[in-house]
């Protein structure tokens, strides 16, 4: 026998059919209205597990995209500053060329010097340029100006108070870039070459030479070589005089017993020795002077050497390094003003005097401009040709300082252009991720509306059928 169907069965089945239809209907309605297929994790737990990381990815990529823009902007701002710096160096070169070649009056040079001073100030402003309230060229010390100028003993030098760290920022998944170039690598030169010496105006060659790469001074310096006393004299008949002594190093003497007794120093002319101690000025074969107090010792002819010690100073005579052994070992001279060291080979040191020291390759933009200005101002009153030589010798330094700025500019430009590539990549990734997310969580509107219509139809049908079935009973036909 077939299963018994009662009215109750019909009612409850019709009810549950309608319920199911309505539920599906409302689900579809939510999906179409929100445009999302997954509105609660239980709608599709597997999809929910994918949605969270995908959304994180998209958020990250948005941030990265912002970062790339920020990086490009910052790099471009820095580059614009350096471009200004480059024009300043160009102008400085024009002025220097003019000053080196033309026959200029003192006042012409003063006005060029004034312009150079302006350029120096502008350069300082560029090195301290900011984006917002962050200094661009101070490494991670972004809160205070990284560069300042300090004038010690008439020499201007830059002081860098930033650091060599960089502001890093993520610009693509797993890729970070440096937002800035620490200023010391752009504005301060680090390509040190040999230190050279030239006799200062009015001075003769002292005979010192550079030793090794250990020097730490920058720009121009000056080395004073003075007489520090005699050592190893043969006896009481020969003592240090009070007159000028310009001869340094080991000096040979030749005593010839008399009468008349004579003494020759350093192969120089033999001088007659007086019987009582008398101060005399001796001259060596190469014209160096030695002041001695001598008398005839009345002994057999003899010869030997004594040493004329030297004092070396790089800080204008504030501190001295005494040299008594004229060997090839390095002699370090410290500048008490800036703590820089100068290492010398004193084996050839033979004469007192002042040497201009040029610390090769250390001419940064500031030092160069300051030296140029100071050379033109010419406080020492050096003759025109000396000034011109000095300005001329600075031309190559201007070029190399300019090159350093251009190198920085190139570096920034390179990074900035790689930001364009990254921007595209990050955007591409973001779009791909957004599409993935859309695939996972979004409603396929066309499909949902079709489905909605289908549900609508079947709901309507269910209603009609139920209405028909429920009305029907034997009762109606028994009248």
């Amino acid at each position: 026998m077939a299963i018994r169907i009662t009215q109750g069965t019909l009612y409850s089945r019709a009810l549950s059919d309608m319920q199911r239809g309505l539920f599906r209907y409302s689900q579809l309605q939510t999906q179409v209205a929100t445009g999302r297929r997954v509105n609660r994790p239980s709608d599709d737990p597997a999809a929910a597990l994918r949605i969270l990381p995908l959304r994180n990815d998209i958020r990250d990529l948005q941030q990265l995209s912002q970062n790339v823009s920020l990086a490009r902007e910052t790099l471009n701002t820095s580059a614009a500053s350096l471009e200004d710096g480059s024009s300043i160096m160009q102008r400085a070169r024009e002025l220097a060329t003019q000053a080196a070649n033309g026959t200029l009056s003192g006042s012409d040079r003063q006005s060029i010097a004034a312009e150079i001073d302006q350029l120096l100030e502008q350069m300082l402003g560029i090195a301290n340029s900011r984006r917002g309230d962050r200094f661009l060229f101070g490494g991670t010390e972004t809160g205070s100006p990284p560069f300042s100028l300090e004038t010690v003993n008439g020499r201007t030098r830059p002081v860098y108070s930033g650091n060599r760290d960089s502001l890093e920022i993520d610009v693509a998944p797993g890729v970070s870039t440096e937002l800035n170039v620490p200023g010391d690598s752009i504005f301060l030169s680090r390509d040190r070459t040999a230190t050279t010496f030239s006799p200062a105006f009015g001075s003769q060659e002292t005979g010192v030479a550079s030793y090794g790469n250990g020097d730490t001074g920058t720009g121009f310096g000056s080395l004073q070589v003075t007489f520090a006393g005699l050592e190893g004299l043969p006896g009481p008949w020969m003592a240090q005089g009070t007159g000028d002594t310009s001869a340094l190093g080991d000096l040979g003497y030749q005593y010839t017993a008399g009468p008349p007794a004579t003494l020759s120093i350093g192969g120089g002319p033999a001088e007659l020795l007086p019987p009582t101690p008398t101060e005399m000025q001796f001259r060596t074969s190469d014209g160096r002077e030695v002041s001695l107090v001598v008398s005839d010792p009345v002994i057999a002819s003899t010869a030997g050497t004594f040493t004329s010690k030297a004092n070396l100073s790089t800080d204008g005579g504030q501190t001295f390094t005494e040299v008594s052994s004229f060997t090839a070992d390095p002699t370090g001279v410290r500048n008490s003003d800036d703590g820089s060291m100068l290492y010398l080979d004193v084996s050839g040191l033979s004469r007192t005097g002042t040497a201009d020291v040029k610390f090769g390759g250390t001419f940064d933009v500031f030092t160069t401009l300051a030296e140029l200005r100071d050379a033109l101002v010419n406080d020492a009153g050096a003759p025109d040709n000396t000034v011109r030589d000095r300005v001329g010798s600075l031309l190559s330094e201007i070029d190399s300082a300019h090159d350093a700025v251009l190198d920085g500019l190139r570096e920034l430009g390179f990074r900035s252009s790689s930001m364009d590539v990254l921007q595209n990549r990050v955007e591409g990734l973001r779009i791909a991720r957004t599409e993935s997310l859309s695939l996972v969580e979004d409603t396929d509107i066309a499909e949902s509306i079709m489905e909605l219509q289908r549900q609508d139809l079947s709901y309507q049908t269910a209603l009609q059928v139920s209405a028909r079935v429920l009305q029907t009973s034997l009762q109606g036909f028994l009248r």
Partner: protein, 786 residues
């Protein structure tokens, strides 16, 4: 033929038809009554009697009774299924509520985490921007509130269980009493022999309703009364009902008891069972996982934050956020061992590195405090801090640690590199003699006491001090530690010179500096200096200018490390050919050899690897005199978690989802956010570490990242909710099927009843006709006699 022929049978037929119509009417009337079972008149032929010879003539119809159409097995299955559906309904309701509480995938913790880590990226673009810092702190506050809210709502959901169970139990008790009452009524009604069909239907209905709430076992006795068992205990026995009671365990879990039973009733189906199960299993497991997540977030975030540097640079004073408790109740706070001081986070055996900075010179002095939570109290820790120069610490009456720095000094716990690690033992002003190797040293060859002379001062006015080493100075003379030697030597040296340990090497340095100062060591009784690897042959001179060592960068290694830099030979930096500095790690293994000779330009940075760069200024080095300096390279400056536990420089406070919050100090002052490791305003070192936290697998979270752990949790909720949806649907469908089956057996079909009505109506008419025929026949018979 008798006179009464046919009336008996006719009357019986009339009565039967009447009863049939009444029953059909009753069926139609109750067609929609829940639990009503279709009734049927049971007809039988009446006992025949013999009339003639062997012929048996029927005596008409007998009404045997009116029976309910019930399939008892089906009823029992429905009752059981009702329990399943009740439980599934409740589970579904709970899971949907939980799903709502987590509010994923749009407004839940996932977006809070996204905002928090996103804010880190934002601040990193400009750490000096106060608005961005404030934004990060705000994100921290938002996620804390989100955690608080989830904890509170999950708690509410769990807390409502007791009340809900109590309400449902009241319903159970009403039903059991009703069943007991019905038992009595059925008993007395059926004593007369008739079935009490409607009473039985009502009772079945009550039993079914009970089944929705909890699983019972019904035993029908022969007398017709039904006994009900809940978890093996009788709640209905005949006419007596025993009430159910609701109680709580010590842990706050809801329990159900039958009458005065001590043991809770074991129930497994129905709403009540589902509620109790949720309370014990489902809800707490989510609560636990949310708490684990909050705890790990707080712990890991604070570990990094507490060792970072605020925008204002090193601290001048700092107050811990978490208090120690007076665990032993002696009225003194801070004298409990750290492991028993009541901190929410465990303090491990480890080390804390404290950096004290001279704010004028930037000179940094780093000290290490070794922490053993089972041997050290909070007061001991404060004392250790106070022992460091220029800072002092105390435990205040509320059990919080307070640290203050002297004026002109600041302290911090950052792992940043010391930019000037050389304290003067590497080309410094004062003449120095260092050991050629690190301690401990073997002095077993010596006959104690051994002595050696330390000559200091200048060549013109030397001072000689004799140092005496006793065997009692050392725990083990075969392994004399550098610290023991330092203590023993300094006790004798006075103001002449100072011994110290530099990277584990013994170093003796004259207290007088300058080019004319000198230091010479001479063996006295015994050859201790030889054992210690100290140079005795040369007189070491001091200098007028110190060699400057600078360290840059940040250490990127995974392990805490101490590098020792040792001059390999002697000469001038940047001048002497092949002048070399050896770099050793803390195990004495050679890391690299640096050429600082004529190929090196003083001040040039040399990379050591792991992000560390070193540069040497101009000056002279002496390998013979054992010049050395040490550099701490820290990956983690607090391996003990004492900063997190005591809440020093914390970002988050609290330790669980319910009490998580952002440190008020930060809320009030965004500068307190430790974005950097160093004091430079653009330093984002700590932000980078915090950003890296996002991708780190955490052991406490089953080796998941924070967000993966949470995504798993959300996934589980999704799966459980979806599963409970389909479970409910399946169970409800099964119940529907069973109810359809029941309807097939016990339901009223109106058509059927109409047919029955017609049938009985016609049968009534026929019986009446029959009686009328019988009457006519009787009339004929009577008239025969006239």
């Amino acid at each position: 033929m008798t006179l009464g022929f046919g009336f008996g049978a006719g009357l019986a037929a009339l009565r039967a038809a009447q009863l049939g119509m009444q029953t059909a009417g009753n069926n139609v009337a109750n067609a929609n009554t829940p639990g009503y079972s279709r009734q049927r008149v049971e007809l039988g032929t009446a006992l025949s009697y013999g009339i003639r010879g062997n012929l048996q003539v029927g005596a008409g119809v007998d009404v045997n009774g009116i029976s309910r159409m019930v399939d008892d097995g089906l009823e029992r299955r429905i009752q059981f299924q009702l329990g399943l559906v009740g439980a599934a309904e409740l589970d579904n309701l709970r899971y949907r509520e939980i799903e709502t509480i987590f509010a994923e995938p749009d407004d839940g913790l996932s977006s809070s985490y996204k905002d928090l880590f996103g804010a880190l990226d934002q601040v990193r673009t400009d750490p000096s921007d106060r608005a961005l810092r404030g934004g990060l702190i705000q994100s921290g506050s938002t996620i804390s509130q989100q955690f608080n809210l989830i904890a509170q709502r999950l708690g509410d959901l769990g807390g409502s269980t007791f009340d809900e169970v109590r309400g449902l139990t009241r319903q159970v008790n009403q039903r059991t009493r009703a069943i007991a009452r019905l038992n009595e009524q059925i008993l007395s009604a059926e004593a007369s022999g008739a079935d009490a069909n409607d009473l039985r239907d009502t009772r079945s209905q009550h039993i079914k309703e009970l089944g929705k709430l909890l699983d019972t076992r019904a035993i029908e006795r022969s007398s017709g009364s039904v006994d009900l068992l809940v978890g093996g205990s009788l709640v209905v026995a005949g006419g007596r009902a025993t009430d159910l009671r609701v109680g709580k365990t010590g842990a706050g879990n809801t329990q159900l008891f039958v009458g005065d039973n001590r043991a809770p009733a074991q129930i497994s189906e129905g709403r009540i069972a589902a509620l109790i199960r949720q309370e014990q299993g489902g809800l707490p497991s989510y609560m636990t996982r949310v708490d684990e997540l909050a705890r790990s977030t707080i712990l890991e975030w604070n570990r990094l934050h507490s060792t970072g540097m605020p925008a204002t640079g090193p601290f001048h004073s700092l107050i811990a956020a978490n208090s120690a408790v007076d665990g032993d109740g002696d009225g003194v706070i801070g004298d409990e061992l750290l492991s028993q001081a009541g901190f929410d986070f465990d303090i491990e055996q480890g080390s804390l590195y404290v950096a004290v900075t001279n704010t004028e010179t930037g000179q940094l002095q780093r000290s290490r405090i070794d922490i053993d939570p089972n041997a050290m109290t909070l007061q001991d820790f404060a004392n250790e801090l106070t022992a460091i120069d220029h800072i002092n610490a105390s435990v205040d009456p509320t059990g919080r640690l307070r640290i203050n720095a002297d004026s002109g000094y600041g302290f911090d716990f950052s792992p940043r590199l010391d930019p000037n690690p050389d304290a003067g033992t590497f080309g410094g002003l004062n003449p120095t003699i260092g050991s050629t190797g690190a301690g401990p040293y073997d002095l077993n060859g010596q006959t104690f006491p051994v002595t050696f002379d330390v000559t200091t001062g200048t060549a013109l006015s030397p001072t000689t001090t004799t140092v005496t080493l006793e065997a009692t100075d050392f725990l083990n003379t075969g392994a004399a530690t550098t610290e023991e030697l330092v203590a023993a030597i300094n006790a004798d040296l006075g103001n002449a010179a100072t011994a110290s340990s530099v990277g584990g090497r013994l170093v003796i340095q004259s207290d007088q500096g300058g080019a004319d100062s000198e230091l010479r060591l001479t063996e006295g009784s015994g050859t201790a200096l030889a054992d210690l690897g100290m140079a005795t042959a040369t007189t070491v001179s001091g200098r007028d200018n110190a060699l400057e060592v600078r360290i840059e960068g940040s250490y990127e290694g995974q392990e805490n490390q101490q590098f020792t830099f040792v001059a390999e030979n002697s000469g001038t930096i940047g001048v002497t050919d092949d002048l070399r500095v050896r770099v050793l790690d803390q195990n004495g293994q050679l890391v690299t050899t640096l050429d600082v000779g004529s190929q090196y330009e003083p001040g040039e940075a040399i990379a050591l690897g792991n992000g560390v760069r070193v540069s040497f200024g101009p000056g002279e080095l002496s390998g013979e005199s054992g010049q050395v300096f040490a550099l701490d390279a820290l990956a983690d400056s607090d391996t003990s978690d004492i900063l997190v536990a005591t809440g020093l420089n914390s970002f988050f406070l609290g330790s669980s989802a319910a009490d998580m919050s952002v440190n008020e100090d930060l809320m009030a002052n965004p500068d307190r956010l430790a974005a950097g490791l160093g004091a430079a305003s653009g330093d984002a070192g700590n932000l980078s570490r915090l950003i890296a936290l996002r991708d780190r697998d955490l052991g406490d979270l089953d080796s998941n990242t924070i967000e993966d752990f949470y995504a798993d949790l959300v996934g589980d909720i999704g799966f459980e909710t979806a599963a409970s949806n389909s479970a409910l649907e399946a169970q409800a469908q099964l119940l529907g099927q069973l109810e359809a089956d029941r309807e097939a057996v016990s339901g009223v079909n109106i058509d059927e009843e109409m047919v029955d009505l017609l049938k009985y109506q016609q049968s009534y008419e026929a019986a009446a006709r029959f009686i009328s025929v019988a009457q006519e026949m009787t009339d004929v018979l009577i008239n025969l006699g006239r």
